[in-house]
Subunit: 207 residues, 2 copies
DNA sequence: TAAAATTCACCCTTTTTGAGGGATTGAATT
DNA sequence: AATTCAATCCCTCAAAAAGGGTGAATTTTA
């Protein structure tokens, strides 16, 4: 088994060093290099290609969210872990959306850090259940939808880019019926085009 | 503080009863009623309106996934928890997508069950880090996209239902350029319409 | 330097869209 | 019993959009 190559992007020197010591003390991981900001890390990421990047969310210059996006662009196989003081914040959620697969709390102890990294390489995502809830709620549909179930069916197909004709074929109704539903959807959502309907539907989690 | 009202939908009588005993032994929860299948539960759900529904995934008749969907329709405020033997499966993931907010393993002990329910009422989602990974990977984009960044920009707008003209306006390019990009997208994705492009893009997490 | 990405133009035909109308049936609620 | 709502279907019309083909200039990047 090869040790997993890790880089650390963290502006606080003490933290950077304590993480390094802890990780280098393990038998599964080693720290390849550390960076005080995202810019310096991004300059080398393509050559270094680490297995794991630990990214602080609050960095001078480019913030952690943007850093994660760039890392995933330049080195897609690198798994990003958020390092944060705030256990449960929207910021962590943004980081996960940007491409991170989990996060580590700044004041975590040796065991917590190593076990989080362990979970990671075993294909898991270390995160609190609060964050997990935020994540899954993102693809739960809104139970207070103003639309009828048939209208929701139609809207889903609209969101897949289907035309009136295609929708009518998939739902075994006439094209005119599909158009009727769509007109009613427009009235209920207060929009007047497919694209507006899709935007509103996604924003309000109607589909 | 009122105790949280729970219903259990589980076909195995022994499990149903042991869950009931465990939960009724806690000071924060009580079992209002139990059901051996989804159909019977759904007949009463609108009147009972439990705070929490514990739903087995493998039920005779209607399965747990469908049951969860129906529960969320009829009683949106009821939080569904999956009860399953398989800790990490696509089935659990499907249940979460259907509207569940977490899951409990069938052979969990008293403490695990109560702490999972506790996490739930505190706004968390009890789940393993393996499941968490599956969940977040659902909104990570594919780093091996065949599309250029500009093409991806265009595709995102297509997925919002935008027309050639709207796309050109939003990206400050001419309509013909937008068409060019779209034609190239069609070739790269091997499709020949907007709807096909959207389907493929979503399936492959290109957007 | 060569390849890829980004930009734009003009040809063409067919389909779709959105805005107006209106109508019927059946189920659920009051 | 009355009424509302969902779901189904039909019509017209003009404007917009879509999709296919072909070619080419410019910039960026590997």
């Amino acid at each position: 088994m090869f040790k997993k190559k890790i880089i650390i992007i963290e502006d606080q020197e003490d933290l950077r060093e304590s993480f390094e010591v802890i990780i280098n003390g393990s038998d599964k991981f080693f720290v390849q290099s550390t960076y005080p900001n995202a810019e310096k890390a991004l300059r080398e990421i393509s050559k270094v290609r680490p297995d794991i990047a630990m990214v602080d969310l609050e960095l001078p210059g480019m913030n952690g969210i943007e850093a994660i996006k760039h890392i995933k662009e330049k080195s897609p196989k690198t798994e990003c872990v958020i390092v944060t003081v705030y256990e449960d914040s929207d910021l962590v959620f943004e980081g996960l959306k940007a491409g991170a697969v989990g996060y580590i709390i700044k004041n975590a102890n040796y065991l917590e850090i190593i076990s989080a990294l362990d979970e990671l390489v075993r294909g898991g995502s270390p995160m609190s259940s609060q964050i997990a809830r935020m994540v899954i709620q993102n693809f739960h549909i809104n139970p207070n939808s103003p639309l009828s179930s048939r209208e929701t069916d139609v809207l889903k197909l609209i969101a897949e880019g289907k035309s009136y004709t295609q929708i009518s074929e998939e739902l075994f109704i006439s094209k005119e019926t599909a158009r009727s539903h769509i007109k009613n959807i427009y009235v209920k959502l207060n929009v007047n085009s497919k694209s507006e309907a899709i935007s509103k539907a996604r924003k309000d989690h109607l589909i």
